[in-house]
Amino acid sequence: MKITNKIIEKHGLKLEEYENIKRLLQREPNLLELGIFSAMWNEHCSYKSSRLHLKKLPTKGKQVIQGPGENAGVIDIGDDDAIIFKIESHNHPSYIEPYQGAATGVGGILRDVFTMGARPIALLNSIHFGSPDHPKTKSLLNGVVSGIGGYGNCIGIPTVAGETKFNATYNENILVNAMAVGHANKNKIFYSKAKGVNKSVVYVGSKTGRDGIHGASMASAEFDENSDEKKPTVQVGDPFTEKLLLEACLELMKDNSIISIQDMGAAGLTSSSVEMASKGGLGMELELDKVPCREENMTPYEMMLSESQERMLIILDDGKENSAKKIFEKWDLDFVIIGKTTNTKNLTLKFNNKIEGEIPINALASKAPVYDREWVKKKPTKEKINLKDLKKIKIEDALVKILSSPNHSNKSWITNQYDQSVMCDTIQKSGSDAAIIRIHNKDKAIAVSVDSSANYCKSNPILGGKQIVCENWRNLITVGAKPLAITNCLNFGNPENKEVMGEFTECLDGIKEACEFLNYPVVSGNVSFYNGTNKKNIFPTPVIGGVGLIKKLFKPLGHSFKKDKSKLILIGKTFGHLEQSCFLKENYSINKGMPPEINLLNEKNNGENLLKLIDKNLILSSHDVSNGGLLVTVSEMIFNSNYGAKLHKPKKLTSLCEYFFGEDQARYVVEIDENNYSKAEKILKDNNIYYEMIGNTQKDYLEIDGELKISTKDLFKVNNKWYNNY
């Protein structure tokens, strides 16, 4: 077939990219080869717009065993234990078919983690929908939540934390990010780098069908009116088969059969074979007639580009084929030797003994395009909001408005659809700042949380970037964990747009600065560009997934109040920053001004000293102050507890709204038993930590002297209504 411009365009390639392909091949590609180039050179696989910028992220640290570049990041948590984790987006497929899109997103990220030898121990997700009034939102929400649950519940890995946000910016382009966390022996980690010539290349897992052909290029293009045409590429997840694949792989990993292993994710057989060969500096020859197919008459093109789920590629050591095959047969999975490693440095594709395609591996990998795209800096806005210009509002009304809003409503409608307890190591479930998962059979645990702040990032990408790292860090601190490392999912609009590219660049600057300061390196991640429709780009939405270590397990603090008459202190300074706050958004629909300042030094000191208090067992409960400010934080500590709180009015600030709803950073509300108060105070004073006594817990009411009195039952009701009525 003659390759026409139309065909090139259909493959999502630019004409100059095609010229480049011809130069690398020193001839014209055939259709199969073109398809392979398009799969490897699209944004999703090649990171061509992001690669230059990602380099600046800090990725090293004593705790890091493997940073970005492998299937997932690996960190050391002491003894022989390693934690392997990564987050990934499945935005476009989830918008087209929410259930399957979300489900296969979960399945894909799980494979990234267990290919490296880890048993997955926790799932998290960050999901973002359009405005609740938008006609599509409800069914997208329903579909995504049941898809996430459907996959995680069936495979038997607890879904323990996440975040759910609504914002009109996602009306035509929702975000579905899934994170998986696994545990492995640090001496038994498996990598994707091929080694040795003439080694068997083995295909295991499900059969290959026509699903998802060109999925990766779909994830690298904007939606437009014609997106409907792309619909038949939807992939269906099969968590049952994945469970078998998981157990079979872990069983095979017990001995030394595997040289390297790689899941077939985006761009399926193409990307897995190319990546393995490329990392090993080798070639690979595949006999495509051997690929187990689900449909009749599948062509080499279809086999190489199919994104059928639940498949892996393994390079086996000599003589291990038979014992490995037995394991996969036990689990009723396909196991077929489909090729071998070679020293040609080419990807050679045979079909019926004929060479159908032959491409130098480096043309697909290291020589893939890299773009230094044009970008512009965001000008910091000078907009200030003067409360005096706004209609006066009662504190109680403002609080109720926030707590009953979709973004702040209780999420148990969602979390009750996820099995959070399977594996019996979930020490703290959803509903608090971070989930806690015990390391099986051990007296230690990890804490995990995912966070994002699209509004802050939109307003000021640098500050926003810093803020999400800090918030994530805080969420681990409040449950008593030492933050170790993060993974990140960078959801942005069209990188060919310089404003979007600017948001990307500057968000990364912010993330970098915070990670460096906090010694909180990035060990894995994912970039998702082209989120938007017809030139309307989503707000920049980087999502941070963090993992922390609890060295010695204790009964979790949780963030709900534990006792009557205990003291409440607020760690960190309150300035009353209301621009970009929930208070203004929910009550006045104002979305203006700068996000709050980040002082990394304070972040670090406040967090580390709170951790000391927790370690010394001086704290009853603690909660970071984030979206919504102090009063929302205290309200959240009241939910699910049997207690209310009595708060003092601030002495200095004039405006109560600024004090109670301001979103200044680096703050925590902490509940301390009266008897421990002086001990805690001493530690804070000795370390120069700013704190204020803000009140105490009490029975039945949330109260501010002379300003507000609301029963805790009513507060709880207000917070619980929205999802159930939606």
């Binding site: 087209i96 499900s206 026509r210 619909k231 939807v234 269906v236 099969d238 049952f240 789920q309």
Partner: protein, 79 residues
Amino acid sequence: MKFSVTVTLKKDVLDPQGKVVENTLMNMGMKDLRNIRQGKYFQIEVDENDQSLAEKKIDLMCKKLLVNLIIEDYKINKI
């Protein structure tokens, strides 16, 4: 008027359920089984005596709720 609606997965869409059922039946000794695909079935009764109007209504129900048009096909029959 009463109708039946059968909903099946589109041809190239993976049917994990049908596959497991097929394997199980084979393992149980049903060797002549060549292929099985699983779908959904609805019996729907509507208060409408004009068949073509009734069918239109059923069709709307399918499109709006019963069928996931992205991965499923459907057929309406009078019963």
